[in-house]
Each structure stands twice: as C-alpha cells, then as structure tokens.
C-alpha cells in the first residue's frame, strides 16, 4: 500500500481484462485462456461501472489488504474448529499471514476463488462444531462404512429450512468459483468429498453437484481452452515426479543470490509443514483428525494431476494453508501452556523471527515484480500511440502495459533464451513497433536469467537509438519506451 503502485504485473493484466469487458461488453475469448473462466473479470468490470472509476487499477493497491483482512473471519472459524482454542485461533491467523510467501493475494481470480473456498470450508467446519455427530465404533472398515452413511444432526439453533438455505448459498458460491478459476473447483470438490467420506456434513451430495457443474463448464463453457491442446491439460495426470520437479527444482535457478532466496523459501515452507505435522499428530485422538488430514491431502493431491505451468506446488501451499496454519499454531502453542517470563520471551522471539522470515520470503521477487509511477506513465504513452496489430518488445514482462489495449497489442520477447540471439540482434530482426525497457527488466535478467550484467535491458535503449532504429517516446527514471523510426521495416 505504501509503494508507488501495486506490484505484480499479472494484476495489471487482470485490470486490462476487466477493462476489455467494460469496453466491449463481452469476454476476451481467443485472446487468453483466462477468458474461459471470466467470472472474476466480469465481477471486476461490474465493480468498475458501479463505482464510476475509470478502470480497475484503483482496486489493485488495496487488493492484498482486502483479501487478507476479509480472510481473517473464515480463518478464525476454521482455526477455532481445528484448535478448539480462541487464543490459538488468533495465533493461527498470525501464522497464516506470516507464512504467506506465495503472494497469491493480488488482484486475481485465484485470490477471489480462494476467499470463497475459505468461506465454504469455514461454514462446513462450523457446522461440525454446532451439530451432534454420532461417534463411530468397531474396526477400521466398519468405522469407514459408518462414516459414509452417517448424517450429522442439524446445527444447534438451525431449522431444516435454514440448513437447506445454507446449502443453497454454498452451491451459489461454488458456482461462482467454477466460472472464475480452473484449479479451485477441483480442490473444492475433493474437500467436499472428504467431508462426505468422513461423515462430517449433512450436505452429502454437494460434492457430486459441484463436480458435475464443473464438468459441464469445462466441457461446454471452456471448449476453446482445451481444444487443440488436450495433452497440455491432461498430460500431467499421474506425473507426480515431473510435476513436483517443475514446481520445486526447476524454479530454483538464476543468480546465486536468487537461488539462495528460493532455497530459503523452500526451507521456510518445509518448517511450516513440519510444524503443522506436529500439530496434526497432537490431535490424533480427536475424531476429526482424519478429516483434517484429508482436507490437506485433497489440496496436496493436485500435484498428481497438474503441473499448472510449474506453479502447482505454490497453489497446493495456498489451498492447504487454512488447515496447515491452525495445525502449526497448535504446535507453537506448546509454548503457551506455561505462562511465565521465559516462555513469553521465547514466544516473542519465535514470532518476531517468524514475521521477519515471512516478510523476507514474500519479497524475494519484488525487484522485478514492482511497478513504479514511471511504468504506469510509460504504459499510458504506449496506449496513446498503439494501433491495432502493433507489437511490443521487452526482455521480461514487467510494468503496467497490459492494463489497456488488450487485443490491439501483442508482445514479443527479445530475451536471448526465447529469441535465440542477443537482445540487440533480436530487436533489429523482429522490429516490434514499440520496445519497453525498465530497471525491473534489468533485475529479472540479472536475478532470474542469471546474466552477469545488471543493466541488460536499460543498456539496450541507447544501443537501438544510437543505430537509428528506434526513437525515445517516453523516458523517466529507469523506464524507457522506444518507437520504431521507420514503421515499414
């Protein structure tokens, strides 16, 4: 909130999608795969029209605060059900926010879908707390059979009609998730199935209805998404090792410092999961232990289904965090049992270190994900010059240029790995009408691509201008926008 502009360029792209819907009154089908899950973008477009602002960029800066602040309520409910302690529930909220290195709380469909998922999870877990549930008896197979047939009582103070109304509300929320995001419905169906298998929900067929609705949307609403590249969609199923490798090992690359920070993130995540495992073990005598384990597994199982462009481990962490956080809080809560000055100091030290590590791991990518006022000003100059069919060259997709003129402007990477030649040669050969260069791109080249120079992008501008190929149409700070001098090239 305190920075110049909202970080994460993908958030600016989402502003562009919402703007497209506002301007064209239709989705951006054919331009991006996300068009086939337009719920979030349509909602953002509606919000823009209702609030009377120019576009959704005003929502960007407050989005992380909004998503995290609103998540506290369902998180508290979930954590109270898991820990059965008000104090540990608040600690779980702190643990959750401190472990939010995955930074999926920017203006995005997944952040909204995740919030809705949290609300469903919290409602179902609260129902368990408020209802009488018959205990299971006998051997493990007998108990599993009883669990499958078990129907919890009505939550205290709830009539049959109210219970049905609550289920209808959950179904509407699930439908909103289905049309907004690809991955969250899968996790939701598996989580609902976990509740049914363990006999902890009255809504025993909700998972079937949600699964069928998802199937219908996928096969009829999003046909153009998977038509032609079915292998990409289904090819990762069962490739657990490959998906894990894409999600973990292959992401640790680039500059040695950047690699060290990535390893710190991994270590941080490992400690978090280890703490949660300890917390889960401490609950092993509670009847709901299996349910908590299955809820974590239902999100973890995604690794066996999809690589999600190398982001699946990150997404698994996101979906498991509402259960992992209270479990980890319970493990940390061991320090709270004896209240004296030593445990108070120890807990303060643990939480201070935890908060510090959380901040460090969250900010690993900030050098190339940050968007400055200069980036936004350059984007506005770009949009004022763009004609339909123009191309924009860059070394790394940084900045805010995606927040407008979606469909009019296509992009081309001048980076050596993508183009097959040094950036200067690429720019001369491909001759995109515009080239955007910035310090964020320098940082991406230095940290992610591992190039020895710290000015790969910003040094390209003077070289192109010096050769007479491009002219500068915007330059301020470390952001520069170039335009081709002879458009006929």
């Amino acid at each position: 909130v305190a920075d110049e502009q909202a970080s994460v360029p993908t958030g600016w792209l989402h502003v562009g999608f919402a703007r497209f819907i506002t301007e064209h009154h239709r989705t951006f089908s054919g331009l991006d795969a996300r068009a086939y899950w337009p719920g979030f973008f349509a909602e953002a477009s509606q919000l823009v029209e209702l609030s009377g602002v120019r576009d959704a960029s005003g929502f960007l800066r407050l989005a992380p605060f909004f998503y995290n602040a609103v998540a506290i309520a369902p998180l508290l409910v979930i954590a109270r059900c898991v820990t059965r302690s008000r104090r540990l529930a608040w600690l779980a909220v702190f643990v959750y926010l401190g472990a939010n290195w995955f930074q999926q709380d920017y203006f995005s469909p997944q952040a909204t879908a995740f919030l809705l998922y949290l609300i469903i999870l919290a409602t179902l877990l609260q129902n368990i707390e408020d209802a009488t549930i018959q205990p299971l008896h006998g051997s493990l197979p007998a108990r599993l059979g009883q669990a499958w047939r078990r129907l919890p009582g009505l939550p205290a103070g709830t009539t049959r009609g109210q219970s049905l109304g609550r289920e209808a509300a959950l179904l509407v929320i699930a439908a909103a998730i289905i049309v907004s995001h690809q991955l969250t419905p899968v996790t939701l169906v598996l989580s609902l199935l976990a509740f049914t298998l363990t006999g902890y929900t009255r809504y025993r067929r909700l998972w079937i209805v949600v699964a069928v609705l998802f199937m219908a949307w996928f096969s009829y609403g999003a046909t153009d998404f998977w038509a032609g590249h079915l292998g990409t969609v289904f090819g990762d199923i069962g490739h657990l090792g490959g998906n894990l490798n894409q999600g973990v090992a292959s992401r640790v690359s680039g500059n040695p410092t950047y690699q060290a920070m990535q390893n710190l993130r991994l270590g941080w995540a490992f400690v978090y999961v280890a703490l949660a495992s300890m917390g889960w073990w401490s609950l092993r005598r509670r009847p709901e232990t299996l349910l908590f384990g299955l809820l974590v597994a239902s999100a973890g199982g995604l690794v066996a289904l999809q690589s999600y462009g190398g982001e699946i481990v990150l997404r698994v962490f996101l979906y498991t965090s509402p259960i992992l956080a209270p479990l980890a809080a319970r493990a940390v809560g061991g320090l709270l049992r004896r209240r004296n000055s030593v445990t108070a100091v120890a807990l303060t030290g643990v939480l201070a270190g935890y908060g510090l590590l959380g901040t460090v791991t969250r900010g690993v990518n900030i050098a190339f994900e940050r968007v400055t006022n200069d980036d936004v000003a350059a984007a506005q100059v770009l949009w004022s010059h763009v004609k339909k069919g123009d191309k924009l060259g860059y070394l790394f997709p940084a900045g805010a240029y995606d927040a407008g003129r979606i469909g009019d402007l296509s992009s081309v990477s001048l980076q050596q790995d993508d183009c097959g030649a040094p950036p200067l040669q690429c720019a001369a050969a491909l001759a995109p009408r515009f080239i955007l260069l910035s310090r964020a791109q320098d940082a991406a080249e230095y940290l992610v691509a591992g190039t020895p120079s710290r000015t790969t992008a910003t040094a390209l501008g003077p070289a192109l201008v010096g050769r007479g190929l491009y002219k500068v149409i915007y330059q301020h700070g470390d952001t520069e926008l170039l335009m081709l001098t002879s458009p006929g090239r």
Binding site: G153, R160, R205, W226
Partner: protein
Amino acid sequence: VIVLDMLSRGLGVGIISVTVLVGLALEVIDQLTTDGASRADGSGPPARRPSLRALRIALVVLVAASVAATLVRIFVVVR
C-alpha cells in the same frame, strides 16, 4: 462425428442438467425430512431418513452418463 456432436451438445447438456436436478432433489428431501443424530454419544434414536432408493440409483446412473457425455464431447471436439 456430426451426429455425435449434436448428441454431445443437446443430450450432454440435458443429461448434466438432469443430474444436477436429481442431486439437488435428493439434497432437498434429505435436508427437509431428516434431523440426523440426536445425541453425541449415539444413544438417541437412529436418524430418520427416507429410503429414496430409486432416486439414489438414478443419480449414480446419471453421474456415469454425465461423465460419458463429457468424454464424447471431448472426443468430438478433438476430432
């Protein structure tokens, strides 16, 4: 393929719609006719639940048909 395309569009959407309706009908009946467990220790009377056997079987068949319709749809589009 043309016949399959027509079937996968019309019939597929129809099957899936009926599946959702039957699933919802079962949920509505379950919610409105059943209180569930009466005591936490299980000593109360058993949960009162209507059998609805025909609807349950219909739901299983319809879910299978929905999956089949989805597979046909994918086959048609890929072809």
